[in-house]
Symmetry: C2
Subunit: 261 residues, 2 copies
Amino acid sequence: MLDIKNPIEARKVIRKNEYRNQTAGTANKYVQGNLCILPSKYAMDFASFCQKNPKPCPLIGFGTKGDPSLKDLGDIDIRTDVPQYRIWEKGKIIDEPYDIKKYWNEDLTTFVLGCSMSFELPLIEAGIPIQHIENDTIVPMYRTSIDCEPAGQFSGKLVVSMRPLNSKDAIRSIQISSRFPAVHGAPIHLGDPSEIGIKDIMNPEYGDPPKAFKNNEIPVFWACGVTPQSVLQDSKPDFCITHAPGKMLITDKLNNDLAAL
Amino acid sequence: MLDIKNPIEARKVIRKNEYRNQTAGTANKYVQGNLCILPSKYAMDFASFCQKNPKPCPLIGFGTKGDPSLKDLGDIDIRTDVPQYRIWEKGKIIDEPYDIKKYWNEDLTTFVLGCSMSFELPLIEAGIPIQHIENDTIVPMYRTSIDCEPAGQFSGKLVVSMRPLNSKDAIRSIQISSRFPAVHGAPIHLGDPSEIGIKDIMNPEYGDPPKAFKNNEIPVFWACGVTPQSVLQDSKPDFCITHAPGKMLITDKLNNDLAAL
């Protein structure tokens, strides 16, 4: 873990390619974002897709065509400030570089989407144990049977993240995450996974499998920022760039600034 | 049902003993209250009990010793303004009169506690079906294994009301009822009834049994204003007066005035 509390300092290290790992826990009072960079011909459709699907795709940053800075989110150069990237061509990964200087061009537009880390800290601060954090694993994520609202060429299934919680913590987690509509907000489901098309809760499509459920634990499901990656895989644009899973953009925005109340 | 929207008009009818039935649906934008009237020697302990148990016993009105009015809640004479009362001696019901003029005395203090009707209307307005209202039955209520915080001679088990909801509505109902901490607030439990000591969900201790659960429905449990009646039954004060179940005090306070946000 990159143990730096200040987001500007953390980005400096990442910018120099001195840290190339996952960003969970780094500058943890600050918003981290999912990244998606697209050629201009796709930009309006993708913006529209985010607008129609605010729970999985909460847009917290929107660059100007050809401009690698994101002034709203801090002194950011998107070409260098993420630990690792993925370069996609027609839905396939062709490279996983540590900067994208050689891929950047004047036609690209940057999108930054909120991520659940922003409400996990308030959950932990409320005394709610988060299994995947305690085990230092990646949150289990599942492709559901729920269709996103399509926009232009972008369509696909909703991906959800899952946290096993007892009933009391499930209720409290609904209250707390409701305060953060800009980072997925309240859960979209709890209880029976098959109701949203999840066949095997122990076998997630993304992330690590959960531990066996305790008797009093129920699965609680939040819309997940991996949804756009899954949609990009399906929709197969000629070209796009995302962050590598878990290796997010660290911004200067406080998590608490995203709280609706 | 007493189909009057204005709480002052509704109380006038009740005051004249022209309506003696349950008050559900009457003046439904206004707060209705559970009633508890106690001799002064118990008043401080009961006030303390309410303070220690705000979820089941949210105190919304607190009279002055010997004074039957409740100016905070409207132009109320507590001796006449409830459709039917119960007179208790040592935990046993000895009378169920339509007014308490002959029982009132200078030593009595009135307590009014919030009730779940105040958040049921916002639930219905959010499109959430409430089974017991749709079936025109009384909400099922259960004595749990959860101890209230004792205060002086008052102690006993928490009573909960239960509404069967699908997962989506359960999540939404947690958000909506969280806005109303003064009337029980968020649920205290959902899912497995045995975790809170309920042996048979189809066999409630108070109110009417629920209908058979649909496949996608889970039981959602709120702290219930019947708790103080159950506690009074156990704690057996020499004398007390309550409302008869379902026949509540209608106040001039808007439900929306109780919303925390």
